[in-house]
């Protein structure tokens, strides 16, 4: 039930919804729970709603932390 996935906003519609691209699948979702979302932003979507905006900088920081573990002792 709590399955949620990151999707890219491609269009803002004027009825409080956005069209997102979810790995090539286009879907209309509600923006009722988030403010200030723009085209090109990634949002975390769940049962047809955006739950939160995905923070690209934080994502990069987490990936950098993963990469820094690569040299760990075997």
């Amino acid at each position: 039930m709590c399955l949620a996935l990151p999707a890219k906003v491609t269009t803002l519609n004027d009825d409080g919804t956005a069209t997102v691209d979810l790995g090539g699948v286009r879907q209309r979702i509600s923006l009722a729970l988030v403010d200030g979302v723009g085209v090109g932003d990634f949002v975390v979507i769940h049962v047809g709603y955006a739950l939160s905006r995905l923070d690209a900088q934080e994502a990069e920081r987490t990936l950098a932390l993963f990469a820094s573990q690569q040299g760990g002792a075997p």
Partner: protein, 378 residues
């Protein structure tokens, strides 16, 4: 897919696995509970349980709303779906869950009940508006992740003056379930041991970190909020081990790309304006817990299906062979259940844990771990 594939990278997983193994001190045991059924599935799907050092044990938690919904509440929805003129809109996850006398929503539909599967509360709203002559009921289940999406539809229905839509609210609260596990008699007797929690990532996008702080502070149990990809989980487990090694009990956030410490304030305000606490709610496995679930506020009672259709609570016991209750508490593993994979399979389920997409029995079945465990014990 961006923000998914990078978090499944095999090379990075090797480094993170080495870090996890290095963090596990050989002289001690670590019992970690992943609260969320989505995490259980990731652990099984990506084979992460095989990468764990032998002294790190994962205890699967109750974070699956379909699994914790007691049969009585499902039976209530099924009864409603048989009423003339009523259409019950439900998420697909619930369709095959065995209810009273093992009757599922899917079987009820085959027998003529009006059950419509929807993807979103928005679909239920749109269906009600398009079918003004039907009484449409949205079967609203879920933890805090899903709760605000129901609230958005309630408020829209009110604003649009939709009279033929009501909501059967079964939204439950994560902190209540954590309370129930930490405070259970089995935990006091040492039958359930949880040294730290992998916290639910998507619940936390809504509620933030604050509701967990009392578990760290009072129960001295560390919590790391984690994303759902395999690298997220490997990192979160290492963070938990490090806290335990250092003797710390804090709330840490591994899923920083999606979870802010204050959560989603707009969604919190919407829930606050729409729902209030129930005095108590019966959970499968965890029992009847005080202030653990939500209902519509008095000013929105016109949308409450329980009042509109005068629905009474009904207690229906689980099938006596089914171990779902003990599995949800962390007392048993799916493979401890005598009917796992024999009398209970996804094709012919006896309990919710086998059929919910987030149930731990479903995870063990789907990803073949039951076969591995049998081999190991042979």
């Amino acid at each position: 897919m961006k923000y998914v594939d990078e978090f499944r990278d095999g090379e990075a997983a090797k480094g993170l696995t080495r870090a996890l193994q290095a963090a596990a001190l050989p002289h001690r045991e670590y019992h970690l509970m992943e609260f969320c059924g989505g995490h259980t599935h990731s652990l099984c799907r990506y084979g992460l349980l095989d990468l764990l050092p032998p002294n790190v044990k994962m205890v699967h938690g109750p974070g699956c709303p379909v699994c914790v919904l007691p049969i009585g509440r499902l039976a209530q929805a099924i009864r409603l779906a048989f009423r003339p003129g009523v259409t019950l809109c439900t998420y697909g996850d619930l369709m095959r869950v065995p209810g009273k006398d093992r009757l599922s929503l899917l079987q009820a539909k085959a027998q003529g009940a009006h059950v419509k599967m929807v993807f979103s509360s928005q679909d239920a709203l749109a269906y009600a508006r398009a079918h003004p002559n039907e009484e449409v009921v949205f079967f609203a289940i879920g933890f805090e992740t899903t709760t605000p999406t129901t609230c958005a539809a309630v408020q829209q229905a009110k604003a649009l003056g939709v009279k033929n839509l009501s909501f059967l609210i079964n939204h439950v609260l994560t902190p209540s379930a954590i309370d129930a596990i930490l405070g259970s008699s089995e935990a006091r007797r040492g039958q359930i041991r949880v040294d730290g929690f992998i916290g639910p990532g998507h619940v936390s996008t809504i509620i933030g970190l604050e509701p967990y702080r009392r578990f760290a502070r009072d129960a001295k149990t560390p919590i790391v909020i984690a994303g759902f990809e395999p690298l997220d989980l490997l990192q979160a487990m290492t963070m938990l081990l490090q806290q335990l090694n250092d003797g710390r009990a804090e709330v840490e956030n591994q899923y920083t790309r999606a979870v802010q410490s204050e959560g989603n304030r707009k969604a919190q305000a919407l829930v606050e304006a729409t729902l209030e606490l129930r005095d108590e709610f019966a959970w499968r496995g965890l029992g009847t817990l005080p202030k653990s679930a939500l209902k519509l506020r008095p000013e929105l009672r016109e949308f409450d299906a329980e009042l509109r259709f005068d629905l009474a609570d009904e207690h229906v016991p689980d099938h006596k062979a089914c171990a779902c209750g003990d599995i949800l508490k962390g007392l048993k593993r799916p493979t401890d259940c005598p009917i796992f994979g024999t009398a209970c399979t996804p094709d012919s389920p006896m309990g919710s844990c086998m059929v919910s997409p987030e149930g731990s029995c479903a995870a063990y079945w789907q990803y073949g771990r039951h076969r591995q465990e049998q081999r190991r014990s042979a």
